[in-house]
């Protein structure tokens, strides 16, 4: 099997499996207990917290969560905001942000949804126009999970500081961390969501970065874990393996990116030289981990099924209109009806090889050839 849907989830790395194994079997102790084993585990959690902050140059707190969705939800729902104030998100945010924002609108906040360009990158002119002193929260994703578009967070934060001084800025960094450089101090951002299973960690493990001085209201009450904000016995195996995954991905970020870029380029060059395909991702400024394209012959879902029958797993993503109950992402990317029907998302991981991409290309060639014989 060739797995090319790594933006959905990745296989756990061997290191994750080994760490998880050890914390599930021999080092299973409750970190809140008083005996030596527990104290040691508690310090492992603290180390994990510090290592993540160090890897991302963050000054503040990391609270561990059950994943990106929970982190996004905390950022939107549990930050202090003036009742009725303005909240800004972008038009192609992940559902975790979009639906939390809709909920806030129902509770009386004013929601502004800022458009993006055709690659999925925030339109900064429109964004700037939305800024004023009534904005209390801005949430703009770092790397778009559909197209790989990278938003200029630094510029976004700078604009926010000058025109919306009361606003907290949050970013969903789930597709960014461990893949492109992230320096939280340099970005000067207040809140940043992370997830483990997109970089070889475990599902059910994530974190939220909270900048120094930013207040979050507690939302799970009990034993007082996670600074009293999120009580619950810690997912130790998930936490320790997550921190380690970030650490190792950040160390190798350049060499990994080089490898991923060569995979991206192989597929990209094939697609742009084939009359039936059109690339939606931004090949210059986007993250090379995600390549979104469309074709005018075969519906995305059918093409995905045909590739699966040849042992190649790709995603259609929510940009594929036939696979989605809403047309939110399709509209955000301004895709035509034909383009939205043929969408395929390929997302790479460091486990993929060039040969796998060549196999995918030859499978695409074969499918197109057969389909043309049958239907044209």
């Amino acid at each position: 099997m060739i797995y090319l849907d790594n933006a959905a989830t990745t296989k756990c790395s061997e290191e994750t499996v080994s760490i998880v194994n050890s914390f599930l079997s021999t080092r299973f102790f409750n970190p809140s207990a008083q005996y030596k084993q527990s104290v040691l585990i508690r310090s492992e959690i603290d180390n994990s917290r510090n290592n993540i902050l160090k890897s991302l140059s963050g000054k503040g707190r990391i609270i561990f969560t059950s994943g990106g969705t929970e982190s996004d939800s905390i950022a939107l729902n549990n930050t202090k905001k003036k009742q009725g104030s303005k909240i800004i998100i972008s038009s192609n945010e992940h559902s975790a942000i979009y639906y939390s924002a809709l909920e806030l609108r129902n509770r009386g906040f004013k929601l502004e949804i800022c458009p993006t360009d055709n690659h999925g990158k925030l339109n900064l002119v429109e964004f700037e126009n939305l800024l004023d002193e009534s904005v209390s929260l801005i949430s703009i994703m770092h790397v778009n999970n559909e197209t790989g578009a990278v938003n200029d967070l630094k510029k976004i934060v700078t604009l926010a500081r000058s025109k919306a001084p009361l606003a907290l800025v949050h970013s969903d960094g789930v597709q960014a961390v461990g893949k492109i450089p992230v320096n939280l101090s340099d970005l000067d951002i207040e809140l940043y969501s992370l997830s483990a299973h997109k970089i070889g960690g475990m599902k059910g493990s994530g974190a939220l970065f909270i900048k120094e001085g930013i207040e979050i209201t507690p939302f799970l009450f009990g034993g007082g874990q996670e600074y009293g904000l999120r009580s619950s016995t810690e997912n130790v195996a998930g936490i320790v393996s997550f921190a380690r995954a970030i650490e190792s991905r950040v160390i190798d970020i350049k060499s990994n990116y080089k490898k991923i870029t060569s995979l991206f380029n192989i597929l990209y060059n094939y697609l742009v030289n084939n009359e039936y395909f059109k690339v939606i991702s931004d090949e210059i400024f986007g993250s090379k981990y995600i390549l979104l394209f469309t074709n005018k012959l075969i519906k995305g879902e059918i093409l995905q099924n045909l590739l699966e029958s040849k042992g190649i797993i790709v995603g259609t993503g929510s940009a594929c209109s036939s696979n989605n109950k809403t047309t939110r992402i399709t509209n955000a990317l301004k895709l035509s009806k034909t383009d939205s029907e043929g969408v395929i998302r390929v997302s790479f991981s460091i486990d993929n090889t060039e040969n796998e991409i060549y196999e995918m290309i030859s499978a695409l060639d074969g499918i197109i050839r057969e389909y043309k014989l049958l239907c044209l």
Partner: protein, 387 residues
Amino acid sequence: MFVEYNCILIREGEIFLKGKNRNQFEKQLLNNIKFKLKDHKYSINASRNRFYIESFDPSYTNIILEELKTVFGIHSISRCIKIESNLESIFSLCSVIMPANGSFRVSVKRADKSIKFTSVELAKEIGGRILQRNPNITVDLENFEYELNVDIRENGYTYLYFEKIPGGGGLPVGVSNRGLALLSGGIDSPVATIMMSKRGMKVDAIHYHSYPFTGELALQKVRDLCKVISKYNLGIKLYIVNFTEIQQEIYKACPKEFLITIMRRFMMRIAEKISLLNNLSCIITGESLGQVASQTIEGITSTDRVLSSLSVLRPLIAFDKTDTIELANKYNTFKLSILPYEDCCTVFLPENPSIHPNIFEVEKSELNLNLESLMQRAIETLVIEKY
């Protein structure tokens, strides 16, 4: 005082209209109720168009009621308090179980003629006792909030109940032979299938898929629909046939405007063949006249022409889509049906299908195909699953 419901009363549906077959119908209904409640401990007795379920664990009452709501052949269900027909006990219990506020009426049925009062006299007496005990409640024979039914039976017991919960209606599954439904996964075919179950038919289903063009999700959706249908049909057998080669061959060899008509003719032929092999006596489809291009009278005529011995039942033929959707919601199939996966009918959809296919032209264009070997190879892909 807390009084627990200790009996569930089940009223038969139209079975009571049946003449000589009535015993067989009642027996089937009893078997179906037992099948539904196989995970529970209880006793069941039949008497005069009714069944009484007793000796069950009261904490499972609501679960049992939910199970019974999906049994066809049941007209209505009531949770009852069963007591011996002693008038003093009846009077005092009635005044205890009535809520303290609101309006009420009492309806008495007295099948036990050894009781010396008439039904009206009894109702008056019970009403009086209730008012005596609950000064804040009022009698209202027309616009009442609570109707207390007091059913004094000949067996020496009285049944007290407030509500009549509607049952599934129809006839018990199994009394109207067996059929094979064409199940696409859309909104109509699951409803058509359950409607036939409601008329007492035990239905099997056949699904055509177009792997590798269609995927596992589309097939899983049909399996999930079968799990819902199974609740009403008391289990269902699903025949899965790969239809891809047939579609591809039609696409290559026949005029595109007849693609759907010829596809449907193949589906009918295969369904008939599988029905005959499995002693199924008809084919069921969810077609509704004029709904899509293939569901015109010409389309339907040309698909039916391929059948040699079985009839096609189309329970939705004169239904509006909104009416079908209402039933799909009632039977809990709607949410599954609208999952938007490609299925065998959408994969090879021609842009301009013929709305009024001419039967002779259709038959002529089929001459380009080797019908028998295509059918044979499709039937070789058959997989059977049970839900």
